[in-house]
């Protein structure tokens, strides 16, 4: 039975058991989210994407903290760990360091990941641990029944802010960019194909991948994103970021975004504006300035950007850690525990 867990090098095994399907990723646990919760759509898309990644199911681990979103691992038929509030990234980091060949996913929320666990999120991202972090942002505390969260709008009235919130909200994408995350993206629970695409992109990224997913909580914060996610307004109020392409949005692509100095402005196309002067998205820029600028775009002044803000390559923590170990082994020769215990200086006491 014994198996060697001493990790050698480590990239995920990519020999896909082609036979896997969405169903193979559905666990036998009854899903207990409220009917109508946006989490269902996210779960379905993740289960849809998993069999396409070419990763053996046993090499996939989902780790979460506490909150509605954090029940996610129970519903995935992979390895899973429902940890404690805010700390999922810490467990994921330890696991990935110990077992670099595993595909490790973190599921968190706006309270779990940005309030109690904000510190861990920042540090996991800046270290570029090869984790896929899905942050479900519903702008409310759901599991504790309706208090405002770090992403709730200023002035929001909730159970704990009857006179309106006096906290300024935090922007998850900006946090990730400030932490120098190598992959930063945003999607939402109402555009299933886009969501699936972003999850695939995150999975393919080598390094920390941070995905903010706008998710509707229909019990405590219903309609939070409707003003731009409803189909009839979506084209005019969102802009899909695509690498190397100009920022065009609006029904029939009738609007664009250009820069005037450091200020973005919306221009109508075909009416004095041409796509040539529009801002062209570059997700691979080493410098995160453009991504940061885009992260400021918000409705109603601007359309809300969706898609990949940033995707750059940089060595990952667990790879560099493994390299240091491998090099030390190479340099130090075979592990001689006796020599280590003996140390540098000894003396002998005769009988």
């Amino acid at each position: 039975m014994g198996m060697n867990t001493d990790v050698g090098g480590g990239t995920a095994t990519r020999e896909a058991p082609a036979s896997l399907s969405r169903k193979d990723f559905v666990s036998d646990q009854e899903v207990r989210w409220c009917p109508g919760c946006g989490d269902y759509a996210i779960l379905a898309q993740v289960q849809r994407v998993m069999p396409t990644l070419g990763i053996p199911r046993e090499n996939i681990v989902f780790i979460s903290g506490i909150g509605c979103s954090s029940r996610f691992p129970y519903y995935m038929n992979t390895y899973g760990f429902h940890s404690i509030h805010g700390r999922a990234a810490t467990l994921a980091t330890g696991l990935k360091c110990a077992r670099p060949e595993l595909s490790v996913w973190v599921v968190t929320g706006d309270g779990d990941g940005l309030s109690i666990g904000g510190n861990h999120l920042i540090h996991a991202l800046r270290r570029n641990v090869d984790l896929k972090i899905l942050l479900f942002n519903n702008r409310i505390y759901g599991l504790t029944k309706g208090q405002y969260s770090p992403t709730s709008e200023f002035g929001k009235k909730t159970k704990s802010t009857p006179l309106g919130s006096i906290d300024y909200p935090i922007n998850p994408v900006q946090v990730a960019l400030a932490a120098e995350a190598t992959f930063v993206a945003r999607s939402f629970d109402r555009d299933l194909n886009h969501l699936a695409h972003i999850v695939e992109r995150a999975a393919a990224h080598k390094g920390s991948a941070f995905v903010e997913i706008y998710q509707n909580c229909n019990i405590f914060n219903d309609h939070a994103f409707e003003h731009f996610t409803e189909k009839d307004v979506r084209d005019d109020r969102t802009v899909y970021l695509e690498h190397g392409k100009p920022l065009v949005f609006g029904r029939g692509g009738d609007k664009g975004i250009r820069l005037r100095g450091l200020h973005p402005e919306v221009v109508a196309l075909g009416d004095g504006g041409s796509t040539e002067e529009l801002l062209v998205h570059d997700e691979r820029a080493r410098d995160a300035s453009l991504a940061y600028l885009l992260s400021h775009l918000d409705y109603p002044e601007y359309p809300i950007p969706l898609g990949v803000f940033r995707a750059i390559q940089r060595p990952t923590l667990e790879t560099m850690m493994q390299t240091q170990v491998d090099q030390a082994v190479q340099k130090g020769g075979p592990r001689d525990l006796d020599a280590l215990l003996r140390g540098r200086e000894t003396w002998t006491v005769d009988a």
């Binding site: 014994g2 046993e58 992979t78 940890s83 360091c97 082994v329 200086e345 005769d350």
Partner: protein, 618 residues
């Protein structure tokens, strides 16, 4: 010092043999006293003395020069006999300035030697130390043998030909003092010479200056009439074998490397810097060739979380901290209890509460280790008794963790961590086999199945086909491990987790009693007080008194024999560097009317004080 150093005064510089000597080096925290003490210690170890040390430094890295809070000390006890403590009272005090004299003189044995740098006794330094006069002239040191040496000047003269600045020259004063002490106690200088050459290899002019200072100190003592005798301390009659010297923190690090090696696994150490545990992180990070992975986390909670993640992945997972960090890790330790994963948490205790006395020793985290978590949250607790014992208990902690699938708390303390003693190190093959069998069969697998003997659940690792399962902090249904809120299941699981920890007792070695198994007084200790307690008890037994002792290295569960042993004595005394935490546990568990001896001063217990107290009980 058992032979009288006070007699002195023999012409012609004869050698006089002593059994044991305790020296305390004291100076500013920038004076290099820790280094001087460490060098003297290594040299004494290599010449074959038994040794025990007590580094005693302030929390401030560089308090204002010459001030009382800036005084750093290093006490060393070296002997031709078997010794167990760094000595109650120094025989020799080396004071590099007035503040060092003022802070330490009260501890010196009456008639002991005081070697002072008279150059440092300036008006300014005297004032900083709170003296309105010069104690060297006032007669207040008449109970001691004072050796005034104009050390700064002598050192500067010796280095006159070097290219170093005055400041750099003065920084070699400690080597001058060390050379002087080497002459006085008849030690060879080779080891320190090699060390200097090694350390300053890239700066030959600095190496040269330090060597000159060392030799000048030696030659000075040899030449001047001030020092009439030098003293020898013979090799100790230790058990035959090959020895090295080791600190508790080094032994802890090596113990966990050895444990992982014997388990055939990667050692993962997630830790956040904290005094006095940081040296474990430093030591482990130097041994990557053993597959050791060290991770300096963003905080204490992350360190614990990362260790849990690594344990889930199948590594020998470890985190290390001190009391304040243990408090922060509490919730995550509860998660490891609930998910039944093998993680070892090292707590190198220091003075508390809160930030407390960060660089001083204490034993006041015992109840935190037992009870400092929400819910019914039992965790096995082990505690090494001596610096070298840190090695053995590290292996034990890993054995218990992986055999019983449980987090284990390992309670070291500041005294053990920084203290040095000779270690008759074992060979690899004599170490226990800690290999682990992981569950790999898909058929019949349930995450919370139980081994009938140990009650451990299977350690099923990600990457194993067919064993995909989910664990977490919510209460688990027995066997399946599914989330379960059933009242009876909860009662059952709470009881099961307690029973599992209780069963660890089945695997423990029998409790050894030092002395007869019955009698008048039993002294019960744990942790770093082993040396003081054993020495005190030995002394009293030599006086013919009916005193025995037991030293508990396993605190949760206790060894099975403990109840019976306690019942064999009229009185039970529990000396601790806290207000009676083990005593509280013993009284609760065994309904024994245990008495306390409690001194919470940030310092080890003193043998003679403890012996006096025990004597009064007999």
């Amino acid at each position: 010092m058992t032979t009288d150093i006070r007699s002195g005064a023999v012409a012609g510089k004869p050698r006089e043999a002593l059994d044991a000597v305790t020296i305390r080096f004291a100076g500013d925290s920038g004076d290099g006293m820790q280094l001087t003490g460490t060098q003297f210690t290594s040299t004494s170890a290599v010449v074959g003395n038994d040794i025990a040390t007590l580094p005693d430094f302030p929390a401030e890295i560089r308090a204002p020069a010459g001030s009382l809070p800036g005084v750093s000390g290093f006490q060393l006890h070296f002997s031709s006999r078997d010794i167990r403590t760094p000595g109650d009272e120094p025989d020799v005090l080396v004071a590099m300035n007035p503040a060092a004299l003022k802070v330490n003189i009260g501890d010196l044995l009456e008639g002991g030697m005081v070697i002072v740098d008279t150059d440092a006794f300036t008006k300014g330094n005297l004032a900083k130390a709170g003296y309105d006069h010069n104690p060297l002239d006032s007669g207040e040191l008449s109970r001691y043998r004072v050796f005034p040496v104009n050390l700064t000047t002598l050192n500067a003269n010796a280095l006159a030909e070097t290219t170093l600045s005055k400041k750099e020259r003065d920084r070699c004063r400690n080597l001058f003092a060390l050379g002087l002490l080497y002459w006085l106690f008849d030690r060879p200088m080779e080891k320190t010479v090699r060390w200097i050459q090694d350390k300053f290899g890239k700066r030959p002019e600095v190496a040269d200056a330090n060597l000159r200072a060392l030799r000048a100190g030696f030659n000075y003592a040899d030449t001047v009439e001030l020092f009439t005798t030098h003293y020898t301390v013979d090799r100790a009659r230790l058990e035959p074998g090959t020895y090295r010297s080791i600190t508790g923190n080094e032994a802890t690090a090596l113990g966990f490397i050895a444990a992982a090696h014997r388990a055939g696994k990667t050692l993962f150490y997630g830790s956040y810097p904290i005094t006095p545990a940081s040296d474990i992180l430093h030591e482990l990070s130097m041994h990557k060739e053993f597959g050791v992975k060290t991770f300096q986390a963003e905080d204490e909670i992350a360190a614990m979380g990362s260790a849990i993640g690594a344990a889930f992945g199948g590594a020998i997972a470890l985190t290390g901290t001190s009391g304040p960090g243990l408090a922060l890790k509490s919730e995550a330790i509860g998660l490891a209890v609930m998910t039944e994963l093998p993680v070892v948490i090292v707590d190198v205790q220091r003075g508390g509460p809160s930030t407390g006395l960060p660089t001083k020793t204490e034993q006041a985290d015992l109840l935190q280790a037992f009870f400092g978590r929400n819910g019914e949250c039992p965790v096995p607790v082990v505690a090494p008794a001596t610096p070298a014992d840190c090695f053995s208990m590290a292996l034990e902690a890993v054995r218990i963790a992986t055999t019983y699938m449980t987090p284990v708390l390992y309670l070291s303390d500041g005294y053990l961590a920084n203290g040095t003693e000779p270690w008759r190190f074992p060979t690899t093959e004599s170490l226990p086999d800690l290999r682990v069998e992981h569950w790999t069969r898909a058929e019949g697998f349930m995450p919370y199945l139980r081994d009938q003997r140990t009650l451990a659940r299977p350690w099923a690792l990600p990457g194993t086909p067919g064993l995909e399962h989910r664990i977490g902090g919510l209460e688990k249904a027995d066997i399946t491990g599914n989330v379960c809120y059933d009242p009876d299941n909860h009662h059952h699981m709470v009881s099961l987790r307690a029973e599992k920890v209780a069963r660890v007792a089945e695997s423990l070695p029998p409790l050894e009693v030092f002395g007869p198994p019955t009698g008048r007084v039993l002294v019960v200790g744990w942790g770093g007080t082993h040396g003081a307690i054993t020495s005190a008890v030995e002394r009293l037994r030599e006086e013919g008194l009916s005193v025995s002792s037991v030293h508990l290295r396993y605190l949760n569960p206790f060894q099975k024999e403990l109840g019976e042993v306690l019942g064999g004595f009229d009185k039970v005394l529990v000396p601790e560097i806290n207000l009676g935490q083990l005593r509280f546990l013993l009284r609760a568990r065994y309904l024994v009317d245990a008495l306390g001896y409690n001194r919470v001063r940030g310092k080890p217990l003193k043998i003679h004080e403890l012996a006096g107290h025990i004597r009064s009980l007999v």
